[in-house]
């Protein structure tokens, strides 16, 4: 008898739950769709959104902290020391700039958007913007070069640095030679 009861119970339950399910989907037919028609309507990004990186190269002091912090090594920075007579100015946060930055490349294709480079920057010059539509057709366009120094300026800075180093080395050699030319002081007498 229970077999018959389960049989009919199953049939009734099937029909009932199917009807309940169909009622739910039918109700949803009249709920307005939640889709945003993307290119016409864009979502507003919250203020902390972490999307494309941007570097304000005028504020960069070349400390290399962001490059060290990056877990995927997507930032490559090269710096040239400035000589004593060059005045590179002051960043907007008050730090004195002492290094030329001829190369500041971010491979945004490698970037994992973790934001770890933003925190160590002393001048807050590297930020994550809310730009997310930066797809490119050619992969090489994803290598962002932020430095604005021209070839001439780089060459100038390098030659200046080399000259300053040579002068410093020459001075050091002259000082060493002068020290060698002086008579040696007497060794202390043994007691």
């Amino acid at each position: 008898m229970t077999a018959v009861a389960t049989y009919f119970g199953n049939i009734f339950r099937s029909l009932y739950t199917v009807a309940v399910g169909m009622r739910i989907t039918f109700k949803h037919l009249f709920v307005p769709a939640v889709t945003l028609q993307y290119p016409d309507v864009k979502l507003k990004m919250p203020e902390r959104a972490r999307n494309r990186l941007y570097v304000n190269i005028d504020d960069c002091i070349g400390c290399d902290q962001c490059s060290l912090a990056c877990p995927v090594d997507c930032i490559s920075i090269e710096t040239i020391k400035s000589t004593a007579d060059q005045d590179l100015g002051v960043t907007s946060t008050g730090h004195k700039k002492r290094l030329h930055v001829p190369k500041f490349d971010i491979d945004i294709g490698k970037c994992c958007y973790c934001g770890l480079c933003v925190y160590p920057c002393p001048t807050e010059c590297i930020v994550m913007t809310d730009v997310y539509e930066f797809a490119e057709f050619d992969r090489h366009n994803l290598l962002y070069k932020f430095s604005r120094m021209t070839e001439g300026e780089i060459g100038e800075a390098e030659t200046k640095l080399k000259k300053a180093e040579e002068e410093a080395a020459a001075k050091k050699a002259a000082a060493a030679a002068a020290a060698a030319a002086q008579p040696k002081p007497e060794p202390p007498k043994a007691p």
């Binding site: 399910g21 169909m22 989907t25 039918f26 769709a33």
Partner: protein
């Protein structure tokens, strides 16, 4: 009498009308399916091609037309190429006996429904061919499941049809529709144009029969919850896996056409076909077509609604449903209806 050239041309033109209808209907149903599915899921479907995506079905067909026609190297070429056409022929032949209006029926044969049940078995052969010829284990799985499913659901379909035929007394669908003319109370679903006491006794059985016919027809068309042959999540695409381009489109066209055929047959047998539910108001040749297509589209919508709501049944549960639930109920209904009609 020997057929003249004129009569041949007329026959060919008349038989091309359902083909044109199928093509137009397929476009509409493609669009309807996607839109209904989307709105049930709280999202919008196509919006970019044409206003709210009305041109999308054209775009889909164009895309399928210009796709590369791949035939697997180890496949059985002849069967592989033949399969979609056989499936389509099996479906299209059924259009011959559906009366669209009171003046148009493809072929007014006495055996109407019997012919339909016979010809729809061609679809099974076509699917088996497609699965076997693809030389792909997943396709074979899908084809064999599909064959088992369609063959076992022919029994409930045939029995439900038999019950309707018993009440109306003819196998010819045109006569069945004429039998139900005169308004909604004359529909076989409500007992047919018989005395009220007979109708009241017949009512529960015709309702159950109609419900079972609808369920069995879902299985004939391979739609969820019976779409195991093309279960996307298991078998990639079942027997369809190796097909691309126009052949794939052919299978899909055949599936949509089949949806319409089973809806139209269910509507003709139980819901009055092209006769208007108001009796004489809104009836006539053109209105007839409107009523038939309208009623069939309601059931097509129902099929789409069910597809996007329910999970699918497993193969053995499918068989269980057919042999151990639908068929016994139908035997009981058959016996009861016979008894009532005799008394």
């Amino acid at each position: 009498m020997s057929p003249t050239l004129e009569s041949i041309i007329i026959t060919v033109l008349l038989s091309a009308i359902p083909l044109v209808f199928i093509l137009l209907y397929a476009l509409v149903t493609l669009y309807l399916e996607m839109k209904v599915a989307a709105h049930m899921q709280d999202r919008v479907a196509y919006m970019r091609t044409g206003w709210h995506g009305v041109l999308q079905p054209f775009a889909d067909i164009l895309k399928l037309l210009q796709k590369e026609d791949t035939i697997p190297a180890a496949a059985d070429r002849f069967l592989f190429i033949l399969a979609p056409y056989i499936v389509f022929v099996g479906t299209y032949a059924a259009f011959a006996i559906i009366p669209f209006t009171n003046i148009y029926i493809g072929s007014n044969i006495h055996l109407g429904v019997f012919f339909l049940i016979g010809v729809s078995s061609l679809v099974v052969i076509g699917i088996l061919m497609g699965g076997w010829a693809s030389n792909n284990k997943w396709s074979i799985f899908g084809a064999i499941r599909s064959a088992a499913q369609m063959v076992s659901y022919e029994i409930p379909t045939a029995l439900s049809v038999l019950i309707a035929v018993m009440i109306t007394g003819s196998l010819n669908l045109q006569e069945i529709t004429q039998f139900q003319e005169g308004g909604i109370q004359n529909w076989v679903l409500f007992g047919g144009p018989l005395p009220l006491s007979t109708k009241l006794m017949l009512l529960p059985f015709t309702f159950i029969t109609f419900l079972i016919l609808f369920t069995a027809s879902l299985a004939e068309v391979n739609r969820t919850p019976f779409d195991l042959p093309e279960a996307e999540s298991e078998l990639v695409q079942g027997f369809n896996t190796e097909y691309s381009g126009m052949r794939f489109a052919m299978f899909y066209l055949a599936e949509y056409a089949n949806m319409f055929v089973v809806s139209a047959v269910a509507v003709t047998l139980f819901l009055g076909g092209w006769s208007s539910p108001f009796g004489d108001f809104m009836s006539g040749p053109v209105w007839g077509a409107f009523w038939l297509i309208g009623k069939a589209m309601v059931f097509v919508f129902l099929q789409i609604w069910i597809r996007w709501t329910l999970p699918r049944l497993r193969v053995d549960q499918l068989m269980y449903t057919s042999w151990k639930v639908l068929t016994p109920f139908l035997f009981v209904c058959l016996f009861a209806v016979g008894l009532i009609l005799v008394l």
